[in-house]
Subunit: 226 residues, 2 copies
Amino acid sequence: MIQSPVWRSPITASDRVLAEIQQAIVAGEIPAGSKISEPELARRFAVSRAPLREALARLERCHLIERTPNAGARVVTLSTAGLRSLYEIREELEGLACRLAAEHMADDEIADMRRLLDQHLQEQRVREGESYYQEAGDLDFHYRIIFGSKNQYLINILCDELYYLMRMYRVQLGMNGPRVSRAFDEHKAIIQAIANRDGELADLLMRRHIAASRRHIEIQLQQMGK
Amino acid sequence: MIQSPVWRSPITASDRVLAEIQQAIVAGEIPAGSKISEPELARRFAVSRAPLREALARLERCHLIERTPNAGARVVTLSTAGLRSLYEIREELEGLACRLAAEHMADDEIADMRRLLDQHLQEQRVREGESYYQEAGDLDFHYRIIFGSKNQYLINILCDELYYLMRMYRVQLGMNGPRVSRAFDEHKAIIQAIANRDGELADLLMRRHIAASRRHIEIQLQQMGK
DNA sequence: ACTTAGCAGATTGTCGACAATTATAATTTA
DNA sequence: TAAATTATAATTGTCGACAATCTGCTAAGT
C-alpha cells in the first residue's frame, strides 16, 4: 500500500488539525479568500503554533491556501478560470491513469470494481438522482482507477494534491444535480475497456467522461450567473 | 508572475537550508536512501529544528524525501521503475502544456523563445556535444513552454514538485551525452507548431520528444547494467 | 538456543517565548 | 487637504527545552 504524505492516519496533533481545517475550508466555514491568522486558529483548535504551521504547510500543498513570506496565508479564491485549469489537468492525468490501469490492474481488482459498480446500480435505483451518489460513488470509482495505475506520483497528484480543491469547488459552487445515470453508463464502459485491456479506449472514454462533467459544471455556473 | 510555493527567494533561514539540502540531495552528497537525522542536519546548516522541519516538509513535497510519522525521514531511492513513472506523467503534462501554450502564449513571448533558441544554436556550434547545454538550454526551453501554458497548477506540478527529482535522476544516473543536435531540431519544430497555433501538433511533437529522451535514458541505464 | 519481555538510548512531536519583519495608523509637513 | 513619514501594533519566523514515541539491545524465561 502506498503511503500518502498528506493524509497518514490522524494520530499526531498536526494530522488532526489538518483534517479539521481541511473540512472547514472545503465546507466554506472558513470563507474563501479570507486571511488566516495563526494564533486565532491555534486557539480555535487548541494546539500550539508548531503543529498548526505544519498543517498549514500541507494545506498549501493541497492548493487550499496561499502563503506569502512574512505576510501570512490566505484561503484560495474560487474562480471559473481556476476550475478550468484544474479540469484540464484532471482530464489528462485520469486518461493516463486509465491507460496504465488497463496495463497494471490485476484481474481480481477489476472484478472487485465491477461488483462495486453493480452495487452502486442497486443503490441508485433506490435513491434516484440523489447527489450523495455523485459524491461517494463517483469518487470511489475514480479513486480505484487511479490507484490501479500503480504510478506513485500520479496517485499523489490526483488523490492528495488536487482532490480537496476539486471537492471545494463541488461543495461551494454547488455541483450536485442528476447526470447520474449517464455517468453510470460511462463508468461501466470504462471498466469494460479496462477489463479488455484496451488502454487506449479506456483513456478516450475517461477523457470524454471528464469533459462531459466539465461542460455540465460550466453550464450550471452560467445559469448561476457567475 | 506566479508565486512559487516551494522556491520563493531565499530570504528566510528555512529557504536557505531548503536550497542547500536540495542541492546536496540532488548531487548525491546526501546519499539516496539514507536516513535523515534532524539534529545532525540542524547542526550542519547552523539552524534550529523549526526552519529545518519546514524545509523537510517542502522536500517531501518535491518527492526528495519520504517521511513516516514518529520514525523520521529518508532520502528517496532511485529506481528505473520510479524513473518510468516520472516520465509517464511528464510526457502527458508537457504535451498538455504545449497545447495550452499554443493557445495562450503571446506573440512576443514566442518571438523571445525563437531568439533564445537561435542563441543556443550559436553556443552549441561552439561547444559541440557538451552536456552543459543539455542542462541549461533544454530546461530553459521546457520551462518557458510550461509557463506559457498559463495554467497555475500545471506550472506547480512540473516546475516545483517534479523538477528536482528529475534533476536528481539526471545527475546521479548520469544522463549527459550528446543527443543534442537532434533535441535541438525537435525543439525548433515544437516552437514552430506553437507559432502556427497548432496545439495538437505541438502536443504530439513534445510527446515524441520526451519519449525519445526516455528511450535514450533507458538504453543508457541498460548499458550501465542497472 | 530461541523467543519474548523489558529497558535504555535516541529521535520526533509539541510547547511557550523571543526576535525580525511587515501592515496599519497617527502625525507631521508641503 | 493630501502625501509622506514615523511610530506603534500585530503577525510571522526562529529558538531552546520538554514530552511522547519508536528502535535496538539486554536479559530473563521456556
